[in-house]
């Protein structure tokens, strides 16, 4: 039977961490590209977060949870790399260069057509790591550069260059698809 301390800690944890469940789940969906893997990873993330909650000193809960989730997801990547079946549909491996390349920007600006969320999610899913996670943390999870640096354990300068590259790749892929559908 849990003691009073455990119950109080659980309650504090509930109030601090559970409001970000959708955020953590969103990142997990983009990182793992699979709904049930994402659920498992998020649950594991919250278990670990509770375990380390005593040593949590803030200030921001969201980047802290994201950092834990990344570790969980990296373990999942490692597992997939060992499992034969998973290899083929794992993108972002170094040898798999995306079919679009970052192009020299053409001076004329084409306006992108609005797309439904599902199509955009697919484009984001196809981005290679670590560019995808930087992009999702900034554009979808609304973290500041400093918070992203905290969550991924990289300097702010690295975050900036990854983000620039992620956006360039996404836009190129987006335009390539529009070209294709014409």
């Amino acid at each position: 039977m849990p003691g009073t301390d455990d119950l109080q800690k659980a309650q504090r944890f509930r109030e601090a961490a559970l409001p970000y469940l959708d955020d953590v789940y969103t990142l997990a969906r983009y990182l793992l590209r699979d709904a049930s893997d994402a659920e498992d990873a998020v649950q594991e993330c919250y278990l670990r977060a509770l375990k380390h909650f005593d040593s949590y000193r803030g200030p921001a809960m969201k980047p802290w949870l994201f950092a834990i989730l990344r570790n969980v997801c990296n373990a999942e990547y490692a597992r997939r790399a060992h499992s034969h079946a998973a290899i083929e549909d794992t993108p972002g491996a170094a040898e798999q260069t995306p079919m679009w390349q970052e192009t020299e920007a053409s001076p004329e600006t084409e306006v992108l057509r609005s797309r439904d969320a599902g199509a955009i999610r697919k484009l984001i899913d196809a981005l290679a790591e670590p560019f995808k996670e930087t992009f999702v943390l900034r554009e979808i999870n609304n973290l500041s550069y400093r918070e992203i640096a905290e969550a991924v354990g990289a300097p702010v300068g690295t975050v900036m260059s990854r983000l620039a590259r992620a956006r360039a790749m996404l836009r190129a892929a987006w335009m390539a698809e529009e070209e294709h559908s014409r």
Binding site: V24, I120, M160, R171
Partner: protein, 255 residues
């Protein structure tokens, strides 16, 4: 500033992450560089389209439930009752007769729990506009006769205004599928519902306070009647109400 630098920094400009000095530098470069200006416009355009789309996912309820279930939980009463049953099911030395006795006790408790929840529901219903009283009177000699013929029992109606609990009226209610009398009191802005029903048990049962959904309920039995006093006032004030009521009723009977 070179174009390579500007192509990275223009994102920080878009995201409002640059301090004023750097922002000016990037803007100055862009003003003189059509390629970087086009890139900035293109990225601003993409940001706009992205912000129109809902790209977030919503965690499924079952995931929330799974995480909730993995947190340390306060022990619940129903759980402990079930574990009592499980203990008996597993203890081979315990005779079936004794076990069935326990089952009866357990069921009776569940029954009381159900009645308690009905009493609290009735209290909640009474707080909705226009549901509190069928007969409005601060005079016990008006409220008491009103119940005549409506119930198989005459609920004691006692004016406790002098003791700090104002009688406001009476009402018919239904608890456990039976018509039952409710005598309504007020303490400051708080409503106290006193539910009264008949019972074949004439033994005195001492008052006991239980809490459900934030309401205190004090239950006791006396002279063949079951009483439930329900209110959102504190447990100590509710106990005081029951004491005053019992004292006054005793005086009525003996007097």
């Amino acid at each position: 500033m070179t174009c390579d630098e500007a192509k990275i920094l223009l994102h920080a400009l878009l995201d409002n992450e640059l301090d004023a000095g750097h922002a000016r530098e990037v803007e100055a470069h862009i003003a003189g560089c059509p390629a970087c200006a086009a890139e900035l416009a293109a990225q601003r355009d993409m940001k706009r389209v992205l912000s129109d789309a809902n790209l977030r996912y919503t965690a499924p309820d079952r995931l929330r439930a799974r995480i909730e279930a993995s947190l340390p939980q306060p022990q619940r009463q129903s759980l402990s009752r079930r574990s009592v049953l499980r203990g008996f099911a597993m203890g081979s030395a315990v005779s079936a007769l004794a076990a069935s006795g326990v089952v009866a006790v357990v069921l009776r408790q569940d029954d009381q729990q159900r009645v308690l929840s009905e009493v609290v529901s009735a209290h909640l219903r009474s707080l909705q506009a226009g549901h509190l009283t069928d007969v409005i009177s601060t005079d016990q000699h008006t409220v008491k006769p009103w119940f005549n013929g409506k119930l198989d029992v005459a609920p004691p109606v006692i004016d406790l205004t002098a003791q700090g609990f104002t009688l406001v009226g009476g009402r018919l209610d239904y608890i456990d599928a039976r018509a039952i009398g409710a005598v309504v009191y007020r303490r400051r802005q708080h409503v106290i519902n006193l539910f009264v029903s008949q019972t074949s048990n004439t033994e005195y049962r001492a008052p006991k306070t239980e809490t459900m959904q934030g309401f205190n309920c004090r239950r006791w039995g006396n002279r063949g009647l079951n009483f439930w006093a329900v209110s959102d006032i504190g447990a100590d004030e509710l106990a005081e109400f029951v004491d005053k009521f019992e004292t006054a009723m005793k005086a009525n009977v003996e007097g």
